[in-house]
């Protein structure tokens, strides 16, 4: 079976500076891979490149069978990127947000309801405006949007940031369940101990390169 992510000697430039300098990485379906490294090492750039947001300057890059060198936009509706922001509309309710993002891929109301239930958002939180939620509840709503969007590859940048202890435990459970359900997860995090326990593999990102442990 073809790997979900296959990067070979990838070079990417951001704002005139090399963000990735010959990065190589292979990720198989169902894996949870932890990207760890110091700030500015290229973790976020790697995630954005896999999401088709950052162009490949040199090297070969395939994500979910899509060649990012030939057309980096083709992969976009199959991946979900969750960075420091959640991509939510504060004035809309949890249900409105999940329905909107689900509708971008033609998800039915049934799929939206299932996504809400999977993130335990089908109770009283369903009709609460996102602007009134806690950081952890917003994170869960953003993940419900990824589920409703049928994202096959989850690209998460510091997903535990801003969450309390309960929120962090919740998120760990969600990631395990997502991988068990067939999603592939790439996580950039400084929470080495926590994410390290979840991950099937840990790789170091240093100076725009990926080093296997």
């Amino acid at each position: 079976m073809e790997p979900v992510v296959r990067l070979v000697d990838v070079v990417a430039v951001l704002g005139g500076f090399p963000a990735l300098a010959g990065a190589s990485l292979t990720v198989e379906r169902g894996e949870i891979v932890l990207l760890q490294g110091p700030n500015g090492a290229g973790k976020t750039s790697l995630l954005r490149l896999c999401a088709g947001l950052l162009p490949v300057e040199r090297g070969a890059a395939t994500v979910l069978g899509c060649d990012l060198v030939a057309d980096r936009t083709a992969v976009r509706n199959r991946v979900g990127l969750l960075g420091h922001a959640n991509g939510l509309y504060a004035e809309l309710t949890v249900h409105d947000n999940v329905r909107f993002w689900g509708a971008t891929v033609g998800a039915s109301e049934g799929e939206v309801t299932a996504a809400l239930a999977r993130m335990a958002l089908d109770g009283r939180l369903r009709d609460v405006a996102v602007g009134r939620l806690s950081a952890g509840q917003r994170r869960r709503t953003a993940l419900a949007c990824l589920v409703a969007r049928r994202a096959e590859l989850w690209l998460l940048d510091e997903p535990h940031a801003g969450l309390d202890a309960v929120g962090r435990d919740d998120l760990d459970g969600i990631l395990r369940a997502a991988a068990a359900a067939g999603a592939t997860v790439l996580v950039a995090s400084h929470e080495l101990e926590r994410v390290g326990r979840l991950a099937t593999r840990v790789v170091d990102v240093v100076g725009g390169q990926v080093r296997a442990r």
Binding site: G52, A74, R76, R78, L81, L88, D96, W101, T104
Partner: protein, 236 residues
């Protein structure tokens, strides 16, 4: 039109409806247009009346004042339209979701046009009350066509430049600087065509149609440019 092109157009239209409904729902929940933009526009109209302080003069220049107030308010509407996209990274998320940028452009333009239409009705009412403007029944067709073309043009330019400024530092001050010179043809065309519809300064209906043509051309050019170019505008 080929099957592929028809399918792309249908997808873009589906996205446009989705984004327009979402934007209008956000507005319905937040009531920013109702509670902030409409009062702002009304205050601008009153300030014009204070500044000129001459009913005859106000009646003569009413078409220009109405469109000036509309364009000032457009700045606020566009800022708001893109603030909801950038506040929590939704514009980035739309890109990652592979949503057709042309559809996003059309959807945001549709929502902006709907909000502008409400604003323009209020401003027209304010002109009738404050500036003693008369709208002859026989010229309502020209007035409606002028409003339609000018609203589309302003919504397209607003969305295009709102998208351009969305990722920039200092976007709040950058947007008026970029947008005001570009909407000058709409200000001129809409003012002249509205003068013809109001019968101001002895203008006849015939005087208004060429200006309406300019407004329609402007809307068509920016509508097409925005639909085709919005993707590269918001991309990294």
């Amino acid at each position: 039109m080929s099957v592929k092109a028809r399918s792309a157009a249908a997808q873009a239209w589906r996205v446009a409806r989705l984004v327009a409904v979402k934007d209008l729902r956000v507005e319905w929940r937040s009531r920013v247009v109702l509670n902030q933009v409409l009062p702002f526009a009304a205050v601008v109209m009153v300030m014009f009346a204070f500044a000129l302080d001459n009913t005859d003069l106000l009646t003569r220049v009413a078409p220009g004042l109405v469109w000036m107030a509309t364009i000032f308010s457009l700045q606020v509407l566009v800022q708001r339209s893109f603030a909801i996209e950038t506040a929590d990274g939704a514009l980035d998320a739309l890109q990652v979701a592979g949503v057709r940028p042309g559809g996003v452009f059309l959807g945001k333009s549709l929502a902006l046009a709907a909000e502008l239409a409400v604003l323009e009705v209020v401003l027209l009412g304010a002109a009738i009350v404050l500036y003693r403007t008369d709208v002859p029944a026989g010229r309502l067709g020209l007035l409606a066509a002028t409003y339609l073309a000018a609203t589309c043009g302003l919504a397209f330019v607003g969305t295009l430049y709102g998208g351009l400024a969305a990722g920039a530092k200092g976007r709040e001050t950058l947007l008026p600087l970029l947008m005001l010179p570009v909407v000058a043809p709409v200000l001129i065309g809409a003012t002249r065509a509205t003068e013809a519809a109001f019968g101001t300064n002895d203008a006849t209906t015939g005087d208004g149609w060429p200006w309406l043509g300019l407004l329609a051309l402007f809307a068509a050019v920016f509508g097409t440019a925005g639909t085709l170019g919005f993707g590269s505008l918001i991309d990294e």
